[in-house]
């Protein structure tokens, strides 16, 4: 067994553009996916996720670069010789075959014996909770059931790697949530490497061991969900994953752990952690997530905290929205900057002021490690 289940080394894929020229669907992508990992490719529509997956499956060949599966360079190996299987977004079940025949197809291609096919297909159908449905045609199943058939059909082959292209995309929200849990449990049970394509960031965060965030053919960041969310390496990732506030400014001072940024068009300064290399005077973007700020009335003073301490500012409430678990507040941060702040409703009370009201004058504080300093991109 080699070190990685799948490796993309400097892979480029260009398509001829019908309107002339070329489209770069994947741009110098390098990825290393470990054995047994649940790895997600996450990014907006058209960023090259499907193309990357199709190159691993063998439906497309890289324009340059190389793909390795279990250490072996794939070159132009056709799909039927690769130890991977795909769950297609549209499921691509064989409409003229029964469910049983669909699942058995891959084993028949391997010339597995009749009894063994019977046994393994039944086991696979049981695994996806479709026992007894073997004699139906795909059209006689619901969307969620068809999705399970597609899964069983691929898993019955015991592939080294399972490729899934937005497998839950066609399902409604509730079924989607259920299937997310089932899929994750199944992956842990069978221990197969999953490469999972999605444009749903919440799905990627909840299911993955690691995520690669892509945009416009580029792999921007690879990391565990918590890294991607808490320490994005660029403005795009911070924006795409979860919600955040952006502020703009210049680096004023750098000390070993923190960077001081003077905000554009204001006297205020923020102390935050640098995600990247900076030099004084550099233009930067500051990302602060709404749940990582706290609002106080005059208590910072009462608590003995000086209002002159870093990242503590007087603000005014513009707008509030009570949504049960949280209150979502828009604050006036001064000099025309508005920030979104989410306060958890810790206390059960009917006191309206506990949930804030427009016009209230308060203080906002944020810990320096919640203030992320990112390089400004062109």
């Amino acid at each position: 067994m080699s070190q990685f289940a799948v490796e993309l080394r400097d892979v480029v894929k260009r398509f001829p553009n019908p309107a002339g020229g070329e489209i770069t669907a994947v741009n110098h992508a390098t990825l290393q996916i470990n054995h047994g990992e649940f790895f997600s490719l996450l990014g907006p529509s058209g960023c090259g996720k499907t193309t990357s997956l199709r190159m691993v499956a063998g439906f497309e060949w890289p324009t340059s670069g190389e793909i390795f599966i279990d250490g072996k360079p794939m070159g132009r190996t056709p799909p039927f010789l690769r130890p991977v299987n795909t769950v297609f977004q549209s499921y691509a079940l064989f409409q003229h075959m029964t469910i049983f025949q669909n699942v058995a197809f891959g084993l028949e291609m391997e010339r597995v014996s009749r009894q063994e096919i019977q046994r393994r297909v039944e086991a696979a159908l049981e695994m996806v909770q479709l026992s007894g449905m073997g004699s139906r045609k795909p059209r006689q199943l619901s969307g969620g059931q068809q999705q399970r058939v597609a899964l069983a059909r691929a898993l019955v082959k015991r592939p080294a790697v399972l490729l899934l292209d937005e497998p839950l995309g066609a399902l409604d929200l509730k079924l989607r949530k259920e299937m997310q849990l089932e899929l994750k449990a199944l992956q842990e049970q069978v221990g197969i490497t999953f490469i999972y394509v999605t444009h749903d960031q919440e799905e990627a965060l909840t299911m993955s061991d690691r995520i690669a965030v892509m945009n416009q053919g580029n792999v921007l960041q690879i990391g565990a969900p918590v890294e991607i969310y808490e320490r994005p390496n660029c403005r795009f990732v911070a924006d795409f994953i979860g919600e955040t506030n952006f502020l703009f400014g210049k680096v004023k001072a750098i000390d070993p752990d923190f960077v001081t940024v003077s905000l554009r068009g204001s006297e205020r300064e923020l102390l935050g952690i640098p995600l990247g290399k900076f030099h004084p005077g550099q233009e930067v973007v500051v990302s602060i997530r709404p749940e990582k700020m706290r609002l106080f009335d005059d208590t910072p003073l009462k608590l003995g905290v000086s209002p002159n301490q870093p990242n503590c500012f007087p603000i005014r409430i513009i707008h509030t929205m009570y949504i049960g678990s949280d209150t979502r507040i828009v604050i006036d941060f001064g000099s025309g900057v508005q920030l979104n702040v989410w306060e958890q409703n810790h206390l059960s009370t009917l006191d309206a002021l506990a949930y804030y009201a427009p016009g209230q004058e308060l203080w906002v504080t944020m810990r320096p490690e919640n203030v992320l300093i990112l390089p400004e991109e062109e």
Binding site: G58, F59, F80, N85, S90, F94, Q95, F105, R153, K157
Partner: protein
């Protein structure tokens, strides 16, 4: 309601019309009535006429004697006519097979080309229809004659020493029939091949199927509805065809179509011609029903 309909008063008659208008059955009938009228005059009445004629007798001067009898049908059981029938069945079946063998690769190829080229190819397939059918058959005669294009060419390149005798043989009839009916096979085949999603073949390859297995297990079964539709479109008219055997088969080749045509136009025995037509109709019906049942046609059409 009951009181309203039991007494025929002006109001109740009015409500009867209204109820008719509101009944969904009556509405449906009214909606398809143009079709029904059309079918009545073009299908039902002529067919009844043929059925009626087939039980009559020919008079001495080719007139029709109105006396119900089964003579025409017993006459059809003569080995001579049965042989013609068997020969027609075989020719129609071979024509169907021939159009599949030539039409399948053609339709497959067209379905694979980029969409813009497809319409050009389909157009080219239909172009010959702009020329009169008889003229196209004469063109074939020019090609197949003893001193025709094919023989001169083969002789010139030295492939053969003596001219091939093709024209006025069953082979010539088959060539003419396959040529004539090819588009009727290609178009439905193309339609069902074109409908197959590329993802289906990718899924087959992904599951380990080499191209020939993917073809046998996925493409072929999914194109079956087109093949069946094409077979019906070819087989049925091929059974009744008489122009091609007349022109290309010489006097030796007689099919049911020729027999029927001769009875009506030459022998002036309309009742016997009508009986032969009925036999042809029934045979074709049986064949079609059998063929479509076997292939599960009804269900596949829904794809």
């Amino acid at each position: 309601m009951a009181a309203e309909t039991s007494a025929i008063t002006p109001t109740s008659r009015f409500s009867l019309i209204r109820r008719l208008r509101e009944s969904s059955k009556a509405q449906g009938l009214a909606l398809i009535s143009p079709t029904l009228i059309y079918l009545l005059f073009t299908l039902v009445l002529p067919l009844l006429l043929v059925v009626f004629l087939s039980f009559m007798t020919r008079g001495a001067y080719g007139n029709i004697v109105y006396r119900v009898n089964l003579d025409n049908y017993t006459r059809l059981m003569d080995p001579l006519y049965l042989r013609i029938l068997g020969y027609s069945l075989a020719t129609a079946a071979l024509t169907t097979v021939g159009t599949i063998l030539i039409g399948y690769p053609l339709a497959y190829y067209i379905a694979r080309t980029p969409p813009r080229q497809r319409s050009i190819y389909l157009f080219l397939i239909l172009v010959p229809f702009w020329t009169n059918f008889i003229i196209r058959i004469y063109a074939w005669i020019m090609i197949l004659r003893t001193e025709g294009l094919l023989n001169s060419f083969l002789l010139k390149i030295g492939f053969i020493q003596a001219p091939l005798e093709i024209l006025y043989t069953p082979t010539a009839v088959l060539i003419g029939m396959v040529y004539e009916f090819l588009p009727f096979m290609v178009l439905p085949l193309y339609t069902s091949l074109e409908k197959i999603e590329p993802a289906q073949l990718e899924a087959a390859a992904d599951l380990g199927a080499r191209p020939h297995m993917a073809f046998l297990r996925v493409t072929l079964p999914l194109s079956l509805p087109g093949m069946i539709a094409g077979s019906i479109l070819v087989f049925i008219p091929a059974m009744g065809m008489f122009v091609v055997p007349d022109l290309m088969g010489g006097a030796k080749t007689i099919l049911v179509g020729n027999l029927i045509r001769n009875q009506f136009l030459t022998a002036r025995d309309w009742p016997f011609g009508a009986a032969a037509s009925m036999l042809l109709l029934i045979l074709t019906l049986i064949f079609t029903l059998f063929y479509t049942r076997r292939a599960g046609f009804g269900e596949e059409l829904l794809v």
